[in-house]
């Protein structure tokens, strides 16, 4: 009796061919994208999506064509933060036209598809029982379609805002094997830094993806009245030495930034001279420098102009 390997094909379904075609669609779409950047964090609540929105704005203000994928399929927030929640995605045979912010940044997000504010992402199924066996696969397929089937046009940067945790990055690397780099976001708390180590290990040591750097968000608080900078976290510990070496910068907390996110306003455009804006612009410059081939982490802070 013949063995598995002796049979010529899978009876005509050509599953490998179908999977290869899916991967090719992603690669074909990304041929017009210069750099892909994943933004991740170890844990939730560190301001990763806010950083993604503002980094996209900073890169756009510097003259780059920027697209953003809200890869947090179940907790999408970027459409609101970037002020395009009422945008309509338009379907064409060549691809889906993304939402575009007033500054020209393009965005695809599950939030743009959901029926109501309180509608969760629910997939069509005969039963939702045992959905744990297939829901993650559905989410990865949705992410693949977001990347491959959005009409991005020519982009300098495509930013992917990942959900909290380390589990989604391997999926992204499978979809984008030549992922340009990863930015890891943390806050000055021991809890966050404990978890962020796992993200660094996953990125650098297991997936062999370059780490562009770490951003320390909510690093301090600038008093609105006297301008003095205070620590936001009482139990603040300095960044681990290893993290210091790969730091892209620290962004101070600014209530106006949170408000701008809630209102879908570009904070950098509204408050260009605020300390947080300056920090975000400097981070954007370092990201550009990274892709221009500079040895980013050998540079002293502020050396990139």
């Amino acid at each position: 009796m013949k063995s598995y390997k002796e049979l010529p094909s899978d009876a005509g379904s050509n599953i490998i061919g179908q999977v290869t075609a899916q991967a090719n669609r992603v690669q074909k779409r990304l041929t017009s994208v210069k750099h892909t950047v994943a933004i991740m964090s170890g844990k939730g609540g560190v301001g990763k999506s806010s950083l993604t929105a503002n980094l996209a704005t900073a890169l756009t203000l510097k003259g780059n064509a920027v697209g953003v994928v809200d890869a947090d399929i179940n907790g999408p927030t970027l459409a609101k933060m970037m002020g395009v929640r009422n945008a309509t995605l338009t379907y064409t045979p060549a691809g889906v036209k993304p939402a575009i912010t007033t500054l020209g940044t393009k965005l695809i997000s599950m939030d743009l598809l959901l029926a109501e504010d309180d509608a969760p992402v629910l997939w069509n199924a005969h039963t939702q029982k045992d959905a744990f066996t297939w829901r993650s696969t559905m989410e990865v397929s949705a992410l693949r379609e977001f990347i491959a089937d959005t009409e991005w046009g020519t982009l300098d940067y495509l930013l992917l805002d990942l959900p909290p945790g380390t589990d989604r990055l391997p999926n992204v690397v499978e979809l984008i094997p030549n992922l340009g780099g990863v930015i890891v976001v943390t806050i000055p708390s021991e809890v966050s830094q404990l978890i962020v180590k796992k993200s660094v290990t996953m990125t650098r040591d297991i997936l062999n993806v370059p780490i562009i750097g770490i951003v320390e968000n909510m690093a301090s608080y600038v008093c609105q009245h006297c301008g003095e900078e205070e620590h936001l976290f009482v139990t603040e510990e300095p960044l681990d030495d290893v993290f210091q070496k790969i730091s892209l910068g620290a962004v101070p907390f600014d209530p106006r930034l949170a408000r701008a996110s809630d209102n879908g306003i570009a904070y950098l455009d509204e408050h260009p001279d605020a300390p947080a804006s300056k920090a975000l612009i400097q981070i954007a410059e370092k990201v550009q420098a990274f892709f221009e081939g500079e040895d980013l982490h050998a540079l002293p802070v502020g050396a990139v102009s």
Binding site: D10, Y91, A125, E145
Partner: protein, 176 residues
């Protein structure tokens, strides 16, 4: 997956696939030498896994359409989430109707549930149960209704009351 006709020692060929019924798909394979057929049944979880990968049993010659999986499988999507771009070539009748809803004109209907065979009678909803049904969020209501009716049928209830709904509640993610 590969299938072998053990009598002929020949690889079987894909022949046909049914649309899901009760969440289960049936695929037929045939031996090209002796024409023996076998049926492979996928349980609902296996069917759903195939759907989630956006793969077609038996292969496909059609080019994939943009976001075909999300467009066809997102249960909680708004009805006008992704309207077709209206081009000058679009027919007047189409625009007069407001364009075709992409969620009802999905490219491949291979994974759309086959219609339930018509039954002379089904469980009857009491006014109290209907009122409770109306309180379920609109985006999950059709699924909940179908599930409750299915639960009532399976458990021999001719009438859907609040008690039946309470008994069915454990089977669904939505609370009602």
């Amino acid at each position: 997956m590969k299938f072998l006709c053990t009598d002929c020692d020949t690889a079987m060929k894909f022949k046909d696939v049914t649309r899901p019924e009760q969440g289960s798909v049936t695929a037929l394979f045939e031996c090209p030498d002796c024409f023996t057929e076998i049926a492979m049944f996928l349980n609902p979880s296996e069917t759903q896994m195939l759907k989630s990968l956006d793969l077609q049993l038996g292969g496909t010659n059609a080019a994939a359409q943009p976001m075909q999986m999300v467009r066809s499988q997102l249960e909680t999507a708004k009805s006008d989430a992704m309207p077709n771009e209206v081009s000058p070539e679009t027919s007047a009748s189409e625009t007069a109707e407001g364009g075709k809803c992409p969620f009802t004109s999905v490219i491949s209907d291979a994974f759309q549930e086959a219609p339930e065979p018509a039954e002379p009678t089904g469980p009857v909803w009491t006014p109290e149960a209907l009122e409770r049904l109306d309180r379920i969020p609109s985006f999950v209501r059709p699924m909940a209704k179908m599930g409750i009716e299915s639960f009532a049928k399976e458990n021999g209830h001719d009438e859907i009351t609040g008690t039946v709904m309470d008994a069915a509640r454990g089977n669904f993610p939505a609370q009602f």
